[in-house]
């Protein structure tokens, strides 16, 4: 498939090379001012038009060899502003003999004339034909009075890039001064002194704390607290639930035993 395409392209290239090319002959340019003053030129580089000047352009399209006039099936004048990218294309009528005439009246400009600034409009002639090679001629630079800037497309608002979204975040939380934190941190500890002081005064007696019935229960409770502390430091939820579940079994047994013993003591004392 690809090969076929390439082959066709190559054949076409050969064909165009063989085809006769077109040329523009007798270009004549006339600018008629508002005061009827005329300026004629064969091939000027730049043309300046006032707000009410009229530009007339005549030429003949002919074969490069032989000079026989031809009528190309497409003839356009293209006005393009290279700075802004605005452009307008105006078809030009050509007689069967190849003669063409174009008139640009600045008082009533054609719709194809693009909006302009002070930059020049490049005017080029584009010719297309079935039998001849296509041709494009840069004619001249045209200076026309500046117009209003081009109107914006109604959808442009919708599809234009939006200003970047800037997120507003909550203000960063104020962390109090270290000294204040430290002071309160120390302050939290003083109830401990109150507690220990009172306990010292009351003097609780724990006669059975170290008896073999009680120790396992106390140890398992301490283990639970240790496990939870470990959870805070390191463990994940699943692990702590697993370990806690395992630990719960011996603690329950130890607790049952310890509390049964205690209740025995209590009732015995009574």
């Amino acid at each position: 498939m690809n090969l076929v395409l390439r082959l066709v392209a190559a054949l076409l290239a050969v064909a165009t090379a063989h085809a006769a090319s077109l040329s523009v002959q007798n270009p004549l340019l006339t600018v008629t001012g508002a005061d009827a003053s005329q300026l004629r030129s064969e091939s000027p580089e730049t043309v300046k038009l006032g707000p009410s000047d009229v530009l007339k352009l005549t030429f003949q399209v002919a074969e490069a060899e032989g000079g026989k006039g031809v009528q190309p099936h497409q003839t356009f004048l293209r006005f393009s502003d290279e700075a802004t990218g605005e452009e307008g294309v105006q078809p030009v009528r050509v007689t069967p003999g190849g003669k063409a005439k174009f008139e640009l009246n600045m008082a009533r400009p054609p719709a194809s004339l693009p909006p302009t600034t002070t930059n020049p409009l490049k005017v080029s002639l584009i010719l297309g034909s079935f039998v001849h090679a296509p041709a494009q001629y840069e004619l001249f630079d045209l200076y026309v009075p500046a117009s209003h800037p081009p109107p914006t497309h109604p959808d442009e608002v919708a599809f234009a890039p939006r200003p970047e979204i800037t997120h507003t975040f909550r203000p960063e939380q104020r962390i109090p001064a270290k000294a204040v934190s430290a002071f309160f941190g120390a302050f939290v500890f003083w109830p401990w002194f109150v507690l220990l002081g009172f306990w010292y005064e009351i003097g609780p007696r724990v006669p059975h704390l170290l008896s073999p019935h009680i120790v396992p229960f106390v140890v398992s409770l301490a283990a639970f607290e240790g496990l939870l502390f470990w959870y805070w430091v390191d463990l994940r939820l699943g692990q702590v639930l697993l370990y806690g579940g395992i630990l719960a079994i011996p603690s329950t047994l130890a607790g049952k035993q310890a509390l049964a013993k205690t209740s025995e003591w209590r009732l015995g004392r009574k």
Partner: protein, 783 residues
């Protein structure tokens, strides 16, 4: 003592006890079996499939949990929902349901049982309904006795009001929440009765589970404080109440804050302040009780009471002040809509648009509860007769839940357990009275009639509906007597209770024929209840709504599977990043079944985004197109029931779209424009121009008339004749229409390659001659 019929006397008490407990276990097992089995209609009639809308999201989230693990699930950010915003799923859901099925899934796989996660999700609700039956049994046992408990378990097992939300495949939060609700209440009652911190802690743990599982946890958060407060006002404060409430609140509140979606709400929002207030009040009362134990001065006591009341008022004022200053968030809109049924329609149409948020229609009480609704008041009256602490709870529960069930259809669910408990208490009282073989001795006539009054009243309440009104009247008469007691003090209540017990001695039924008549009658009613429940469950509540069923002329079932057909089409034929726009009802299903990004879904957290979709649907193509393109929409999906007569389609929901859009863009969308001049909502020739130009209308009826081949096209839902020439679409292409036209999918056209606007391009395609017009000059000369 005379007996109405002979009872065997040669049984040892131990045998009787053993036999009854065995019978109870067997009965509970059978009830569980019945509860599970009656929920399997959906699987039997259709297939093992997830139902409705929300369950599809839960199912999708569970799949993520099962495959990715818990911590990944916790931090899951879903970029495909709420395109282009995305959704932080882990922080905006109640994860209890997914965690439950995740745990079950992992346990089963650890046991080498490779069960598909979908089947776990489908069968979770029936499984938990068995647990609900058990917890209702436990709860009712605390109210009356085991036999009432068994009745209550049987009721809740098959009552349609609960089945409606827990059939197999209805994988929603409510599936496990009702079990948790009942079990938490049971633990609370148990804690209150025994004064045990153990049960308080357990209640807190299950409360935590409930918080993690359902937004309705606020019901517990307010029910328990309300009960505690009522007990305090009745002068029934006790250390047991203190222990139960304090341990529940302290642990439960801290635990509830672990759920990310709840966060700091328990200390910040008004909904939770009642619990905090009662907690503070209890501390003050407990302290004053302690002080009173050490001081006997009468003056000091009065001083204490004054200070207690003063502190209570101060606390309440403090809470009000904090609310005013913005420290505590005021009530949310959803909460207001509970008190003012018109509130939601006015201010938050998105809440009002959900059908299950509508006020309940009265027939649905009878459909969902059948005979229980007659027994319910009788049960409440019986609670007044005993009026222990737990009966106060049931009474409060009954009043509150009845109100809520009247306000919102979906809250019928919270009423159902209470109705079952009360009805079981009433029913078992009847049976107890009439089965009891002991005949009263014929004593003096007046005492007999007086004693008989209440019992016969309650029995008539059971047999006829008119009887129930007489009971309530009598109950009301009895209630003030019981009510006045507690206000005076505890002593009078106790004495009243004792005296009423004495009176009971004389009660009883003579003869076997009355017994037989009443018992047969009661059994007959139970039989009809079972029939009704089975019928309602199989016909009304077992439709998955994803798959529809119709009956062929020959009576066989015809399955309409348009939804899945369309969603699988999307899955198979569109790129994975294709954004699908639809009304929010279908967001979860598209995400779950088609696995495509959606603009809005059933989470409804962003009203503006939903309103944007509403605006796109309700405005003309030219207006909608930029909205669609700006949101990268590739496909638009609409549900259309006009061909089949499926009434839950988008045209019927259309006015809500309009209303929601109007809430945000009142200048561009106006509801009256969608009605005809006569104020009718029509889709036929007479429809208003705005209606006919709206995207939703065009998408629904595009090429609809062609289907009838020149005959008059008829919309079978609205019953209206459609215009012969249907609407045309310029900016969208029909991409897919399902077999019965229920789901229609349109592709949003890209920009025209030649830079024309799509309307012109389309006109050109159809060979229409463009109206010749002078080209407009872009240049404007400066004059």
């Amino acid at each position: 003592m005379p007996l109405a019929y002979s009872v065997p006397t040669d049984l040892s008490p131990a045998t009787v006890v053993n036999a009854t407990s065995l019978l109870r276990i067997v009965a509970l097992a059978l009830i569980s079996g019945a509860a599970i089995a009656s929920r399997l209609f959906a699987v039997v009639n259709f297939e093992s499939i997830i139902h409705e809308f929300d369950p599809w999201f839960n199912y999708r989230a569970t799949r993520v949990l099962a495959s990715e693990g818990f911590y990944e699930f916790w931090n899951w950010f879903d970029p495909t929902a709420w395109y282009p915003l995305g959704r932080v799923v882990g922080g905006t859901i109640y994860p209890g349901l997914m965690a439950t099925s995740g745990v079950i899934y992992n346990i089963l796989h650890a046991l080498n049982l490779p069960v598909d996660i979908r089947n776990i999700c489908v069968l979770l609700a029936p499984g938990f309904s068995a647990l609900t039956a058990w917890s209702t049994y436990m709860f009712t046992k605390e109210m009356k006795n085991e036999s009432a408990g068994l009745l209550a378990a049987a009721f809740i097992g098959i009552v349609p009001g609960y089945i409606s939300r827990s059939v197999a495949g209805s994988y929603d939060n409510e599936a496990i929440a009702i079990f948790l609700l009942m079990f938490t209440f049971f633990l609370w009652i148990k804690a209150l009765k025994t004064g045990s911190a153990l049960f308080g802690t357990l209640a807190a743990l299950f409360y935590f589970y409930m918080v993690a599982a359902w937004g309705g946890y606020a019901f517990i958060t307010n029910m328990i404080p309300l009960h505690a407060f009522a007990l305090i006002l009745m002068g029934r404060f006790s250390s047991r109440l203190y222990v139960a409430y304090s341990s529940w609140y302290a642990i439960g509140t801290l635990a509830s804050m672990q759920v990310p979606f709840v966060g700091f709400q328990p200390v910040r929002t008004s909904e939770h302040m009642a619990a905090l207030g009662v907690f503070g009040l209890l501390q003050i009362i407990a302290f004053s009780e302690l002080v009173r134990a050490h001081v006997s001065s009468k003056q000091f006591q009065s001083l204490l009471y004054a200070s207690v009341i003063g502190m209570g008022i101060l606390g309440a004022l403090g809470i009000v002040g904090l609310t005013y200053k913005g420290w505590i968030a005021p009530w949310t809109g959803r909460f207001y809509s509970l008190w003012d049924t018109g509130y939601a329609k006015k201010y938050i149409p998105i809440i009002a648009s959900v059908s299950e948020h509508q006020p309940t229609a009265w027939p649905s009480f009878f459909m969902d509860l059948q005979l229980l609704i007659f027994l319910f008041p009788a049960g409440v009256v019986l609670c007044f007769r005993e009026l222990r602490d737990e009966h106060v709870f049931v009474i409060i529960y009954a009043v509150v839940a009845s109100y809520f069930a009247g306000v919102m259809v979906r809250l019928m669910l919270t009423l159902t357990p209470c109705v079952c408990v009360c009805a079981a208490v009433a029913f078992s009282s009847v049976l107890d009275t009439y089965i009891d073989p002991v005949e009263p001795e014929a004593v003096e006539e007046d005492a007999q009639t007086a004693g008989d009054g209440a019992v016969s009243a309650s029995s008539t309440a059971v047999s006829t509906s008119s009887g129930s009104t007489t009971t309530t009247k009598k109950g009301k008469k009895a209630a003030p007597a019981a009510h006045a007691g507690p206000l005076d003090g505890l002593v009078s209540t106790v004495s009243a209770a004792v005296s009423s017990k004495k009176g009971e001695k004389a009660r009883g039924i003579f003869g076997g024929d009355t017994r037989l008549a009443v018992i047969l009658n009661a059994l007959g009613m139970l039989l009809f209840f079972v029939l009704h429940c089975t019928y309602v469950t199989s016909s009304a509540y077992s439709s998955p709504s994803v798959v529809l069923a119709s009956t062929n002329p020959d009576g066989s079932q015809h399955i309409i599977d348009d939804f899945r057909e369309a969603y699988y089409w999307l899955r198979q034929n569109t790129p994975e990043t294709a954004v699908v726009m639809s009304w929010w009802d279908y967001g979860y299903q598209i995400a779950g079944m088609a696995d495509r990004p959606t603009l809005v879904d059933n989470n409804t957290w962003n009203n503006t985004h939903i309103a944007t979709v509403g605006k796109a649907m309700s405005s003309s193509e030219e207006v909608a197109y930029p909205i669609l393109r700006k949101h990268d929409v590739d496909y638009v999906l609409v549900i259309f029931g006009g061909l089949l007569g499926y009434s839950g389609d988008d045209i019927n929901k259309f006015l809500w779209m309009v209303r929601i859009a109007q809430g945000v863009w009142p200048d561009e969308i106006q509801e009256p424009n969608y009605f005809t001049a006569k104020g009718e909502y029509r889709v036929d020739d007479e429809a208003s121009a705005t209606m006919k130009n709206s995207l939703m209308y065009k998408m629904s009826y595009y090429r609809f008339a062609e289907l009838f081949g020149g005959n008059q096209a008829v919309d079978r839902v609205r019953g209206q004749q459609m215009p012969r020439i249907g609407p045309t679409l310029d900016y969208l292409d029909e991409a897919f229409t399902s077999e019965n036209w229920i789901v229609r999918i349109y592709q949003v056209k890209k920009d025209d390659l030649l830079g024309r606007d799509l309307r012109t391009a389309n006109a050109f395609e159809q060979g229409k001659k463009r109206k010749r017009s002078k080209p407009v000059a872009r240049r404007k000369a400066i004059v």
